[in-house]
Symmetry: C2
Subunit: 226 residues, 2 copies
DNA sequence: CGTGTTGTTGAACTGTCTCAAGGACGGTGG
DNA sequence: CCACCGTCCTTGAGACAGTTCAACAACACG
């Protein structure tokens, strides 16, 4: 199968990349520090250390901006499409040119960067201080807010990450994650069928997530910035 | 005792803040999204969640830039001086004015932001994938690089964080950290007296730290950017 | 030289990981 | 349409790393 990334013709100062689910772009040592803007879909940041498994460090949503210098090269970072996704790739000079010539573009990039930074802070806070169950609840709130459709006090949304990706993102073992998930399904807070999650009572979930307030605040801010 | 932050007269578009060790600046809800630039010393980013202990999320070094919108308000972030420290506080408009009028300032802020972002990535990778011993080794390498004086194959440096702060930063319990530290001292990799650490064989320490390569790369980049 | 704070250490405990077996699902070919 | 296969998910039992609690030691400060 063609594992190549589809690159359409250059758009205004940059290249559009179309990724199918599970396709990856390794960010190897490169002469230029590209910047990537997520146009649609969900993209994971993965890193790999020598003699260790890949780990998922971050989730990127539409309108997020990722720069290659956000991580040292020796981490072997890669972008992985969790859903089919579209990215815009910009050379650093193109980015700064756009930033100077197009004030609206500049302010969108600034806002997107601030929101991503805050999201990273919350993820760190989630990993740092909390139990596996709480981290998973935080994760569901985050995904539910950014991907979900509200429906009468509840929400439903896709779960685009595999078990292993989710576990890595939450710094848990896949087995442990499965146990946590089972417990949560058993308690009736969430139902899942075919990769789609239904949370009948959203506030019941937020009560399990110590970061739900902060995540909601962040999501509101990111909605406002569009 | 005077627990007030000393603010000297406004310097060129901004205020200088002098902090003594352990002094803190709570970043409560504020009408303006201030930016803080660390001029000297070591500053911690702490966050607090309802019904939970404060946690240390990040270490800021000289020339780092912290913006209030790097975290949602409900996280109750505070800056804490780990050593005596000096900060420059800028209003957002002052920051963007400077960015436009002073290209050299702008490029220093951009470089500092990129380096801080990479440091955050490494910290996350350290917490995500590794054992307590490895995380602590990563921490020592980071501190040693940024604060240490090299000396014939070894390095010596201050340990400005309290046990509790270090433990929180590494997502460990202070007791566990103490055990890890004791083991490391027992193995002869590190000696400590009066808050100053001596590592006689730096490469022995780096061999214990999975992220040492990436941290060294990052530190070299931050040196180059000054 | 007390007194309070911070660091150390042991013993028991708990959450998470490991390993291995079994189950569910989705695709493929008869 | 069903049997087959591979892959991913689930679940139990045991092991282990890290936590908790409590007692003690080291240190800093008045």
């Amino acid at each position: 199968m063609a594992n190549e990334v589809t690159a359409t013709m250059p758009v205004a100062s940059g290249v559009m990349l179309s990724l199918r689910k599970h396709q990856r772009i390794p960010l190897g040592p490169s002469p230029v520090d590209h910047a990537y803007i997520v146009t649609s879909g969900l993209v994971l940041i993965e890193a790999k250390l020598p003699d260790r498994e890949r780990q998922v460090l971050e989730i990127l949503y539409a309108s997020d901006v990722y720069c290659m210098h956000d991580a040292p090269e020796s981490l072997e970072v890669a972008l992985v499409a969790a859903t089919s996704a579209e990215l815009q790739r910009l050379r650093p000079d193109a980015l700064s040119t756009l930033n100077r010539s197009d004030p609206e573009f500049a302010s969108r990039v600034t806002a997107a960067t601030a929101i991503r930074s805050a999201r990273r802070t919350l993820h760190l806070a989630s990993l740092n201080g909390q139990s596996g169950d709480e981290r998973f609840a935080d994760f569901l709130v985050e995904i539910g807010l950014f991907l979900g459709d509200p429906s009468a006090g509840g929400r439903s949304f896709d779960l685009p990450l595999t078990r292993e990706e989710t576990a890595s993102y939450l710094s848990l073992n896949p087995d442990t994650l499965s146990r946590i998930f089972s417990r949560l399904k058993g308690s009736g807070v969430i139902r899942v069928s075919r990769g789609r999650a239904v949370v009948p009572d959203w506030s019941a979930l937020t009560r399990l997530s110590p970061l739900s307030t902060a995540l909601t605040e962040l999501h509101a801010k990111s909605q406002a910035a569009l």
